[in-house]
Amino acid sequence: MPGSKRFLHPEAIKRIARLEIRARHVVEGFLSGMHKSPYFGQSVEFLQHREYVAGDDLRHVDWNVWAKQDRFYVKQFEEETNLRCTLLIDVSKSMAYGNGPFDKYEYACTLACSLAYLILKQQDGVGCIAFDEKIRTSVPTRTKHNHIFSIVDALAVHEPKDKTDMLSILRGVAESVSRRGMVIVVSDLLADRPGLIKGLRMLKQRGHDVLVFHVLDDEELDFPFNGPTRFEGLESVDFLNCNPRALREGYLAALQEYLDEVRHGCAKNAVDYKLVRTSDPLDAALASFLSVRLAMMNRY
């Protein structure tokens, strides 16, 4: 299976496996596992009392409390369930850029597969959506261990093309994924920024825990070009003949402004954001992200 070998770099996955993904919030799940479920139901672990309202299941009424206080309270239990994680992989044309070992697309796929493998190893469910202007491929969420191969196959068959339409994609995902869970977006986010922020907000509003891996190439971040160059847009027909050294300062300023805006939008909507360079080691990128996430979860 060349696809799996292509994206599942065993060395990287082995190192990530030592870390634990601990979801900040309880996600719906069918199976009991390590993660706390956001749903309240039959469980061994009592969570809290709540005053009875019409419609509540009478089986949950704590009669001991009624006997002592003559009031109806229902018992709520914390339910442990599976994490349902949806990976959104940007396969637009802009992801084809990269001069290092990986272009952004390859890096994103590798990262996505690594996450999928990790999630499946924890008995959680993972699904995958590849998108550009529209959803190109959708792999449903499964918990089977060999489900990773479906994800790998789905990513391997697609070459980057077309533009990115983040808003419609994120809206579609928000509407189609009914159960709350984790949505991991792997993209260069070179798209309409208000649409991006809006889409992320919609996912949050649906109760998803959203992680954004912002994948950019070193050259995009450092702009080390020298000598007269003709830049031709990957997702547009724009081109520019210039001496890149002269434009570098302005470019970096504009890029920094964009990154700041994205960071700010994510932070505002409680979306975890991680800027990843294609030269960064995969494990390091994931580890740093998950460490941040764990720290946030512990605060709750």
Partner: protein, 783 residues
Amino acid sequence: MQFVYQALTWGFLLALVPLLIHLINMMRHKRVQWAAMEFLLASYKKHKQWIWLKQLLLLLARMAAIALLVAMVAQLKSRDQWIMGSRTTHHYVLLDDSFSMTDRAAGASAFDTAQQVIANIVNRAKQEDSQQKLTLLRFSQARGASSTATPELAAERADFNADSIDGAFDLTLEKKQQTLSATALSVGPLEALGLVKQLLSQTSDETSIVYVLSDFRAKDWANPAETKSLLEEIKRSKADVHLVSCVRSKEPNLGIVDLAATEDTRAAGVPLFVNVKVRNFGQQAATKVQLKIQQTFFAPGDPKTTAAEQLLGIVDEVATLVIDKIDPGETATRRVQVYFPQHGQHVVEATLAEDPVETDNRRWCVINFPEGERALVIDGSDEQQHAYYLDIAFRPLERSNTGIRPQVEQVSFLRDATLESLKNYSAIYLLDVRSLEERPIALLEDYVQAGGGVAIFGGPNVNVGFYNRRLYNDGKGWFPAPLAAELELPPAVDPSQPDIELTGHPIFSFFVNQTSPLIRGVKIDKYLHVDSGWKPAPDSGVSILATLRNGSPLVLEKKVGQGTVLAVLTTLAPTWNDWAKNPSIVVTALKMQSYLAAHQRRDDPRLVGTPLEVNLPSEQFQSNLEFIRPGDGDVKRVKIERQAGEGSGFRVQGSEKSDLNPPLTASLGAASATGTISDETDRPGVYEAWPKTLKGDIDLRRWALNVDPAEGDLTTVPSQDLLSKLDPVKVTFHQADQYQQEEAVASGYNLSQLVMIALVCLLLGEQALAYSASYHPQAGGAR
């Protein structure tokens, strides 16, 4: 604005390289498929005009930097008056025209190179904005000028004297240069520097540059003490001094350094040996050196029948010698025999094969062959037996011709003689003369003082007391030693021991070199003993030429004035000895005659450039005469006529005095009364004067004027040595080949330093501009 290295100004085209690179790059864009066009376009839109401006400035800065770099390398100069001021620049060029400057290498002589340097100096000067003047003075024109010469004399001697260098000066210089050539003289820089010093003393408001164009031979520059002091004075006049060496390479040179007849008796019909010396001035041994000797015979009657300019004589090639090898610095001497059947002043010429310096490859000598050498023999004996044997010695065989014409006279002959009449004799022999009267004593002393030779032989008639008192006179007289008495020489204990012990004196050197000389068999019975304890004083001019076996002096010599007195303290006739019966007497007598008459035979070697002066008694000679000097090319003889009162070369001394017989003095090659140098005797060769007597007879006089052989030594002084010897006088030394550039550096104001500073500033500005235009990216990018 000018450049020292004009050829490098093509480098300014390199300033277009940045533009060219820019255009090429415009055509050779690297294509990049770029995702983040949004930010790039935003940056471009925001900084578009500023970027264009910066890039334009950067391009211009780089083009300017290259232009400045080229200007710096090509050495930008300015002659703008705001930098240089408006002072007149006066170029004093001192040109060495001695014959060592004819040293030819690669088809061009050092003198040609010097001429080129002068042309370069003038060309450069023409391009100056300020007024330029040229003074050109040749070494040969400065000769004879004393250190106290007036500036007027210096101006008179100069070829150009403060001539303005204007547009037409090129032509003037070219015409002048066509008339200039290296002379055959050997002249140093001293007089020329002295004259320039005088000229510099006249000017105070000029920028003076003194150029010495020379070959800087060791002969003139190895010990430049006087030169140094002159240069010091010139430097004190605030003149820049440039020494320009016009020699391209070290060339080998052979030169004839001497050509002279031996001291033997000269007479018509008597063969004579001539010594010729060839010196190798080069650094390597010379082999198979060909030396041609030829003689020119002038018949005595020719001047009457032939015009002066057509008298060529009969030229015979005497020999062509081949000298196998002459080591560097060595002198080879060869001897050839010449023969002239009739009396007269005949010429011998030696010629070497062609080499870098031609001038010293020919040499001439004029040998005066009289009909015979007259010798006065005064015999004091009654039978005149001494004279008889001397006469036999001078004419040993019936047909042999020694050239000596003895005239035997009594002692009384001296009573009526005059100094002039005695001067007709090449030597005087006093044989066993008892005594002399006062007048002959003084006459003989004058004769010896004037260069005559007197030989005195002893004998039984000699009055010892008279000799001691009047002739020796406690060493003040002309007799060499005080005499005691006649003594008998005791028989020898060893019969093989010769009675006469000889020294290496020229009279006896012939015997010294013989393994078994006949003179060893001469027996001396009696002799005149000198005072016991007498020894020749070191500064008395007395020397002992031969002694007896008992140590007593036998032959003594005393130098008196220019002449020589020989005393032989035994008889010439076989009275006290048997010498006259021994064949060695012939050799001894001939050698003695040759030695005594040497001064009168002495040739008159002269160097080229020496004025020839003829003194003539006005009562015997006409006032007009002709000089002949060597010509050039086909014209072998050039006639110069002199008339009294006409021209500077002819003077009548004492004509305004009341002297009844004022002597006439005619000269050739002498400086005029105003100090103008004459070049009439500057050519080596044979010169003649043809004075005419009032009867119309020609009293022809002939001289050989040769070059100074030392000038042929082409050894140069290395520049470092010369500069260290001239230290602390600051002069600049140049090689002529490199001079054109260096001269340009020296004149005008070199802006290289300013250009370099501007270049550094521009490069710093360019870097700042490049930095501001993000051409120096900082590490890292957006985060």
